[in-house]
């Protein structure tokens, strides 16, 4: 390995990371600012974190976001998994190409269009905008992502596993719950997490489909920023970053451990 650090390499790395993380570092630093003026450093303080927890509006929005995320991710995971199963298993029904195209279209559809069309639909059927509509909209948005993730796993799924289970006396339903589902579970879980994350940080579609009493956290932050950035918002964002970072670190640590365990297992198998 070439371990020499040329001036060029150092410059590239510093610039690259600065480009990626400088804004976030600034945000975290200023969340601990004593001063009310966002861009002027007035000494270290955690008072914005305290006031954050007393800001009923932000706390409500967080609660709404969490509920919308959990419900929409769960429903989208069920629907997306079913769609993926259908698309990989029943490859010869009429209109399959159209169906698969339509399932995946929201992936590339501009969010503004999705949001607007959903808004029109809800108005047309007379559905009051609120918690229900934003949850439905997020299911629509995230379902196709789940379908893509689960489908890519199903394509490599060995069908003889299911045949073996049935051959050994398991009915199709038992086979699905005892064999198919456990084997594709990692893909379903990552689909769920993707759906949850997408729902968590969606602003555009939520703005179109949400109503009074169902303001999500991104909407709340955005509207407060328009009135002027307060260090409270910085604190809220810092907490969000911390939550996401902890999640990513845990996931990668678990992955790493599995990988190491797997290598040990394989070495053990080689030795007999």
């Amino acid at each position: 390995m070439n371990a020499t650090w040329s001036r060029f390499n150092i410059t590239s790395i510093v610039l690259g990371f600065a480009f990626l993380y400088l804004p976030i570092v600034l945000l975290i630093v200023f969340s601990f600012n004593e001063s009310k003026l966002v861009t002027v450093w007035g000494g270290f303080s955690t008072k914005w974190y305290v006031s954050l927890f007393h800001n009923q509006g932000l706390m409500d929005a967080t609660w709404v976001t969490a509920r919308v995320g959990l419900i929409s991710a769960t429903v989208a995971t069920v629907l997306g998994t079913l769609a993926a199963l259908t698309l990989t298993r029943y490859t010869r029904f009429k209109g399959r190409v159209l169906f698969s195209g339509m399932v995946f279209a929201p992936l590339v559809m501009p969010e503004v269009i999705t949001g607007l069309s959903l808004l029109l639909l809800f108005v047309a059927v007379g559905l009051d905008r609120g918690f229900l509509t934003v949850t439905l909209a997020h299911i629509t948005l995230t379902m196709c992502f789940v379908a893509v993730v689960v489908q890519s796993r199903l394509i490599t799924f060995d069908r003889s596993l299911e045949e073996a289970a049935m051959d050994l006396g398991a009915t199709p339903v038992k086979t699905f719950f005892q064999i198919t589902l456990p084997v594709i579970m990692p893909a379903i879980v990552s689909g769920w997490m993707l759906a949850f994350t997408l729902s968590l940080d969606d602003l555009v579609i939520a703005s179109f489909t949400s109503g009074p009493g169902a303001t999500t956290l991104p909407m709340k932050i955005y509207s407060q920023v328009r009135l002027g950035v307060t260090p409270e918002i910085n604190a809220a964002c810092t907490i969000l970053i911390a939550v996401v970072a902890i999640g990513v670190v845990i996931a990668s640590l678990a992955n790493k451990r599995r990988e190491v365990q797997r290598q040990l297992d394989e070495q053990a198998a080689q030795r007999g």
């Binding site: 049935m166 050994l168 084997v183």
Partner: protein, 379 residues
């Protein structure tokens, strides 16, 4: 007590007109769209038989197995198992189990749970499951691997788990789809004999699908040679090899020399064949063929003697030139170009360490064989 060998030698229900067939394929046809995988095929397999379906890939042998397991339904015809028509019975209610080519071990379950899976489906009481699993693990010598997951096992160990899982339910019939295909050569040969012992000890009926003729010859009581969805011949390994019923079978199993020709003259005991390229061959009367009929004389390389001088007593002796020699250790294979242009393959066992009659490239040589050494094929 009878040894396994003598049981095997005496076992020949196919020669007994009163023997009850165990598995019957009755004019079975299977079509996938326009493609006919199995074409009006009939086949009888007996209880406790080790039966091999041998054929090239895509010949329909796996489809036969999958129809027996219940993963495919015949388009026409019927399959009987122990007198019961299997039509409409789903795979999970058939008294047959299958060992898959890919082994299909459940990756999220331990070896133990893989083996117990079928027993649990039957609602067997827990203590009984535990003792049966232990018995199976002992049978395949994997006792210390009970708690491992499939990815923690080597290929040979996985194969044994798959085998243990498929016999754990004591099925009436065990279906094996290329059971040794994923193993290396040494391990494959060992496992062939283990499978045979297992089949004898458990007294099960085995139906194995393979494309490997050596495997089929080693293990099976009888072999069905399948081509394009049809049975070409069903016979014991020795019959298939020594008395193939057609050119296809002769070619498919082992090496063979073919002489195209016509029946020139028939006497009380022998037939003289005029080869298309000029050779005159005298054979014992085996096939009822009229003079003038187009036939093929097929003879295995090891039935041909090769020598530098014409053997005095030989009925059939043809002269040519050594074209190529392949020394394989246990035997030597000679390719001789006869003076009429036909190539003949002759093999000699290297019984002595130093050959007495060394033939070399381009030497003149005689190939000779007895009148009963080959077969006359009309198909």
């Amino acid at each position: 007590m009878k040894s396994l060998g003598s049981i095997r030698r005496d076992f020949a229900p196919w020669n007994d007109p009163n023997a009850k067939p165990y598995i019957q394929f009755d004019n079975v046809t299977k079509k996938f769209g326009d493609f006919t995988a199995v074409n009006n095929l009939s086949l009888t397999i007996f209880e406790r038989e080790f039966f091999a379906l041998l054929g090239a890939s895509g010949c329909g042998k796996s489809t036969l197995l999958r129809m027996l397991a219940g993963f495919e339904e015949p388009t026409a015809g019927r399959i009987l198992l122990d007198g019961q028509d299997l039509r409409g019975i789903p795979p999970y209610r058939r008294p047959v189990n299958m060992m898959f080519q890919s082994y299909a071990l459940f990756p999220h379950m331990t070896v133990e749970n893989n083996i117990a899976f079928g027993l649990k489906q039957d609602g067997m009481p827990k203590p009984e499951i535990a003792s049966r699993v232990a018995e199976m693990l002992k049978l395949v010598k994997l006792e210390q691997f009970a708690k491992r997951k499939p990815h923690q096992l080597s290929g040979g160990q996985r194969q044994r788990v798959a085998l243990a899982r498929s016999v754990a339910k004591r099925p009436k019939v065990l279906l094996l789809d290329e059971p040794l295909g994923a193993l290396d050569k040494k391990l494959r040969e060992e496992t062939q004999f283990e499978l045979m012992d297992l089949q004898q000890n458990l007294g099960l009926t085995f139906v194995v699908v393979t494309h490997d003729q050596e495997e089929a010859m080693t293990m099976a009581d009888r072999i069905a040679i399948i081509d394009k969805g049809e049975v070409m011949q069903v016979a014991t390994p020795a019959e298939v090899y020594e008395a193939p019923s057609s050119r296809f079978v002769a070619h498919f199993v082992g090496n063979v020399n073919m002489f195209e020709g016509k029946v020139a003259e028939r006497t009380a005991k022998t037939t003289r064949i005029a080869g298309a390229t000029g050779a005159q061959i005298v054979v014992d009367n085996a096939v009822d063929t009229a003079a003038g009929a187009d036939i093929v004389f097929a003879i295995r390389p090891e039935k041909i003697r090769i020598s530098s001088k014409k053997p005095a007593d030989a009925v059939n002796a043809l002269e040519g030139e050594v074209y190529d020699i392949a020394y394989l250790g246990d035997m030597t294979v000679y390719h001789v170009r006869l003076d009429d242009g036909q190539m003949v393959r002759a093999s000699t066992m290297n019984a002595a360490r130093i050959a007495e009659d060394p033939l070399s490239w381009n030497d003149r040589a005689w190939v000779s064989f007895r009148p009963d050494a080959g077969v006359v094929l009309t198909r």
